[in-house]
């Protein structure tokens, strides 16, 4: 990114931070958390401890970071090096990202930027200009991406509440600031479990690693009675709703499953898992030392803010998470895909110089699809 673009982004971010202190609050048990931040074109500064909102605001204004993070873990000494921090516990966190959902719409709004010659194109395998395969992919998520991500969040909440007995009020959902959602679970029985245990929890939630026996199919001594009932709780219940469709079809389908045999059941189970398992990023949930994007801060991949979703079904990130100014700015844009922000339509732009509001210019510059003219 060129210097003038960075300057422009920093100015815009600084203005946001200055004007929106009210929505950037430190999380509870602040002094036990580790904070970190990044500046444009620079590495991560972490192992920082912060006492209160005031200190956080000072850090934002003094450093104008591109991204700000805070640990989900609680430490005795959050600003010490990692192995001296004395890890106490960590909130459960989940990352749901539209790019991981294998959505058919993705192709239509993903573009590649060649790392060698900066050519922007819709071809996702090779650069059409220099034939390089070193391509950086950028996506401008559409409504379908957001809706599909919301569906995953609802599926996740359902498993958390019904199977794992998490209280609804201990689940908090945030728009990630780019293409998905971050879900936090507080005060659960899982606060103190380690990384490997969390990875097991991930497999449970995503219906990963299930064996046919769990759903009633045995290698030998087959038994119709061990197949799940339609109204059963947990994954057996979800499985039967997905596979049987209705109570009346259960018996007929069990007969089919038995005659198809064990290994074909395993294949079917993998397909079912792909359909009804919750698609969460395993690495995020497994990581108990992560610093995770701070609520209220701006995501430098988009210029949108990570904000709390009070009503997920009605939530529209492209109107509610865009807080930057409407001041007009002139940019060179090479953005072959149309997008909407704050209820306005932008693009497509093919190598053109145009004037547009700051919030849209920032969005495109963050996606590397425009630069300051």
């Amino acid at each position: 990114m060129q210097e003038v673009d960075i300057q422009f982004l920093e100015d815009s971010f600084k203005k946001y931070y200055f004007n929106h202190f009210d929505q950037i609050k430190v999380p509870e048990r602040t002094s036990e958390r580790e904070f970190g931040y990044q500046k444009f074109n620079s590495g991560m500064t972490r192992h920082i401890s912060i006492k209160n909102d005031k200190e956080l605001h000072l850090l934002l204004i003094q450093n104008v970071p591109s991204d700000v993070y805070c640990s989900n873990a609680y430490y005795t000494f959050p600003n010490s090096p990692m192995n001296e921090k004395d890890w106490k516990e960590a909130d459960l966190i989940f990352d749901i990202d539209a790019k991981d959902l294998n959505l058919s719409c993705r192709k239509s709004h993903t573009i590649s930027i060649c790392n060698e010659c900066n050519e922007v194109s819709k071809n996702l395998t090779r650069c059409l200009k220099c034939n390089s395969s070193k391509l950086e992919k950028k996506s401008l998520p559409c409504r379908n991406c957001i809706d599909a991500s919301k569906t995953e969040v609802s599926k996740l909440s359902e498993v958390l509440i019904n199977d794992l007995a998490i209280d609804r009020e201990n689940i908090q959902v945030y728009f990630s600031g780019n293409e998905g959602f971050h879900v936090y679970v507080y005060n659960s029985q899982f606060q103190q479990i380690g990384s490997r245990e969390r990875s097991e929890l991930v497999d449970y939630i995503s219906l990963h690693g299930a064996i046919p026996e769990t759903f009633g199919m045995k290698k030998l001594k087959q038994d119709r009675a061990s197949f799940p009932d339609f109204d059963e709780k947990g994954w057996r219940g979800r499985f039967s709703k997905q596979v049987f469709g209705s109570k009346s079809k259960r018996s007929k389908i069990i007969t089919e499953l038995l005659s198809n045999g064990y290994s074909s059941f395993q294949k079917m189970l993998d397909d079912v898992s792909e359909n009804i398992g919750v698609k969460i990023d395993p690495n995020v949930t497994m990581d108990i030392h992560r610093i995770f994007r701070l609520p209220g801060s701006i995501n430098s991949k988009s210029g949108l803010a990570k904000i709390h979703c009070d009503d997920l079904s009605k939530f529209d990130p492209y109107t509610e998470a865009s807080f930057l100014s409407d001041d007009s700015v002139e940019v060179f844009a090479n953005c072959p895909i149309e997008f909407r922000l704050k209820n306005k339509k932008f693009g497509p732009y093919i190598n053109e110089k145009i004037s547009m509001p700051t919030f849209a210019a920032v969005y495109m510059i963050c996606k590397k699809l425009a630069r300051i003219a």
């Binding site: 070193k134 007995a165 899982f190 929890l201």
Partner: protein, 346 residues
């Protein structure tokens, strides 16, 4: 701690308080070397140990936890305690491990029976309390099942490699895992073994008991025969590592977790940061400075000084980085790939 009777100590002789029964009887250890009346206890202790070294579980004289004659029960308890004394006198760690394993299996059988006794609430309560006191797991009985919190289940099952122990293959309801008596007990098998090991390790070593020298010598030579295994490696890379290298060679994007796996694997195999770095040259987002920084971090030469280890097969499966083949041969970490175990006696 629990208030237990002799019959319960006979089943669970590793519990706090078993030693007191011996003390109350007033037998000093030296008497076991000389008193012909105590010889059956010595023989039983030796038998108990020998069975354990052969990988078996000693069959006790108590039938289903009941025995009419109190001496039978006492012999059970004393032979356990004396076996520990004998192990301490040999000073051999291999004997501790074998004995603890066999004794934990034996106790496991009793716990399982006690938990499964639908008619005898006091037996069930005892087993539940032992599990709580020793391992801090809150077990609640409901109908034919035992319910334990998911978080406790995870902590105790995490080292099990069989797929049936994965949480997804368990009956989960309302934040609890529902288990049958045998699975409940299986869950604490290893810890029960560790508990017994720590009991033995922490027990003081008494001076040699005159009259028991021959038995101690016999045990020492059995212990020496249990030679450790050695390994040879074929040197070939496991399929997950081959796949990762393949992806990089094609210039495709290998996720961060895949790069972590590859780097930690090669570092553990003794390659240097300078040898590994060029592998990442083809990555779409290659940056030499960042790559070297991260590799140095993983190897422990920068940052906190911790050398990161290669993730387990289980973890790699979760991350979709596992490409298992029959050559993997039930290994649990890619680093074990190609190792052939030889249990030959030296």
């Amino acid at each position: 701690m629990l208030e237990l009777g002799t019959d319960e100590f006979a089943k669970y002789p590793f519990l706090e308080g078993a030693g007191k029964i011996l003390k109350d009887k007033g037998f000093p250890l030296s008497q076991f070397g000389t008193d012909p009346d105590l010889e059956p206890v010595v023989k039983k202790a030796l038998h108990r140990l020998k069975v354990s070294t052969q990988g078996g579980i000693y069959k006790s004289d108590i039938i289903d936890g009941q025995a009419s004659k109190s001496f039978v029960l006492e012999k059970e308890i004393f032979s356990f305690l004396l076996a520990i004394v004998l192990i301490k006198l040999t000073g051999m760690h291999t004997l501790i491990k074998r004995f603890a394993l066999a004794e934990s299996r034996r106790a496991e059988n009793h716990l399982e029976k006690d938990l499964g006794k639908a008619s005898d609430k006091s037996k069930i309560d005892l087993a539940i309390r032992i599990i709580y006191d020793l391992f801090n797991i809150d077990v609640i009985k409901e109908n034919d099942f035992f319910k334990i919190p998911v978080s406790d289940y995870l902590k105790h099952s995490i080292d099990f490699h069989e797929r049936e122990w994965k949480l997804i293959n368990r009956h989960v309801e309302n934040g609890k895992v529902l288990l049958t008596p045998d699975k409940t007990v299986r869950l604490i098998r290893k810890e029960l073994g560790n508990y017994i090991i720590s009991k033995i390790t922490n027990a003081p070593t008494p001076p040699m008991i005159p009259g028991l020298e021959n038995i101690v010598n016999e045990l020492t030579s059995i212990g020496k025969d249990l030679t450790p295994s050695y390994t040879v490696t074929t040197g070939e890379y496991p399929p997950c590592i081959k796949h990762a290298i393949d992806i990089l060679e094609k210039g495709e994007n290998l996720p961060h977790s895949g790069r972590f796996m590859l780097a930690t694997f090669l570092l553990s195999k003794g390659q240097s940061v300078q040898q590994i770095a060029p592998l990442f040259k083809n990555a779409p987002d290659y940056n030499e400075r960042v790559t070297l920084y991260q590799l140095n971090h993983l190897s422990g030469t920068s940052g906190s000084g911790t050398q990161y280890s290669c993730p387990s097969c289980e973890k790699l499966k979760t991350q979709s980085l596992c490409f298992i083949t029959s050559d993997c041969d039930n290994i649990v970490n890619p680093l074990q790939f190609g190792r052939k175990k030889n249990n030959a006696r030296s």
